[in-house]
Symmetry: C2
Subunit: 262 residues, 2 copies
Amino acid sequence: MTTAPCFQAAMGRYFALSDDDCRMLEHLERHTAPASKDRVLWLLGARVQNLFILQSGWACTVRDTGEGERQIIELLLPGDIIGLREFTFRRHGSEARMISAGSVSTFTHQHIVDLVAASTSLAVSLFATIGRQEALLTERMLVTLHRSARVQVSHFVLETYLRLSKIQPVDPGRMPFPISQRLLGQILGLSPVHVNRTLTALERDGVLEKHRAHIVIHDPRRLHAEADFDDDYLSDRVDGLSERLAELREGDASFAVSRSGS
Amino acid sequence: MTTAPCFQAAMGRYFALSDDDCRMLEHLERHTAPASKDRVLWLLGARVQNLFILQSGWACTVRDTGEGERQIIELLLPGDIIGLREFTFRRHGSEARMISAGSVSTFTHQHIVDLVAASTSLAVSLFATIGRQEALLTERMLVTLHRSARVQVSHFVLETYLRLSKIQPVDPGRMPFPISQRLLGQILGLSPVHVNRTLTALERDGVLEKHRAHIVIHDPRRLHAEADFDDDYLSDRVDGLSERLAELREGDASFAVSRSGS
DNA sequence: CGTACCTTTGACGGCTGTCAAAGGAAGTGG
DNA sequence: CCACTTCCTTTGACAGCCGTCAAAGGTACG
């Protein structure tokens, strides 16, 4: 039951947080419990209530698409917040479940409102977080719609490698990857058969080597080229907002004042 | 230079806004100017600075995908805010441009910070807005990855019809639709040739009839079936948050207080 | 009246899905 | 420690949706 401030680190990626901000984030991570593989965090159609912070292990949100097919919408890694995109909805439009065993912190959607009310910088950090998650989704869509299966697989592996590297050092020669070929197909919208053919080809060409729960990246540069990768969308850089936050903190409410009515 | 409170109406979809909130939104819509067809609002890679409220006309955000192909990421209709998903980024990961002539209100990303600082209910409404935009993207991805071109086209037309209907009455027999077949292909990830074949088939079967700038929906119910449509993701219903906002407004900061202690 | 863009149609090819079956690897219970 | 079950991986054959290429007709606009 570690209380590694996983989420604090993630939220602090965009700009420095105050001590008060950190205390509030700690509060969110207070109720942490282990979660087994395949543990369901919420079901499709369930009333929105709880959000989660993934402390360890991998998770995903997923939708069934008629005819028994499933599509993974987002892959969540440690430090990610689960449910932010849906916290203003009445009911969940997806299912959320653990991919591997791990642990999650639980809190309610009303806590998010409290956070937003209490701290502008945390609110903006949440916008930054949701924006990054959406950028992942956008990039996935671009790749799945316009690139071959080979590029898709390469792109996803590299993206995941880069995301993981942000939260912990990762050895390209042995990167954690608890994703079966079937699941990989559900992430990319490919059939498991074709995923297998693609992986076999990538292994034959010495690009990477997928094992049951890890991947060997033989040549990161080669993979980068295979994936035709442009990593702008993974950037945590924010611009011009921290300055504005500082001004607001110092009482310059030039705009905010004008609201309360002349 | 109308000051139709287009955006206020959109922001008020989730829960009632106070007079102060409305005044602040008016402020955002102060600088409104006409925008011609194909007017570029920002370019890929440009520094993030301005956001826009689409007062009239249609717009989109778009990405080039190598090899001269383009993918429309989101379609923006009157009342939509343009740039919210990227306002915490340093540079734009997309291009934004007008699809048809219209008018837009312009303000800076720092204004969003001011808004969030000044009003919790507006901040939460912004989260609701960004969440709905992301839901559109998710649904588009599910349909494009797993359904035939026929379903994709039907789904998109119906979705657009329902979105439009939320902001103005729409006659199914003559719905505005300033989208060329080429553009429709860029939205769905299909070739213009195949879009044409699909539309031809849908017209032959009496489902709809696309003209240069409008669509005739012969039988909405039939279209609904063709699209295998589930409109949950278009819901504006929010749950449990307005109550919390009211409590906070009345000074109940039970959570916010507990943060700084024990 | 010409230019540019949009729409339409046909032929052809390929990437990827489906179906089917067999071999492996991991976990379970006796 | 072994049988059994279940899931994952692998391979082959075949089909189909959709992209590409090409060309012609239509429509708006200057």
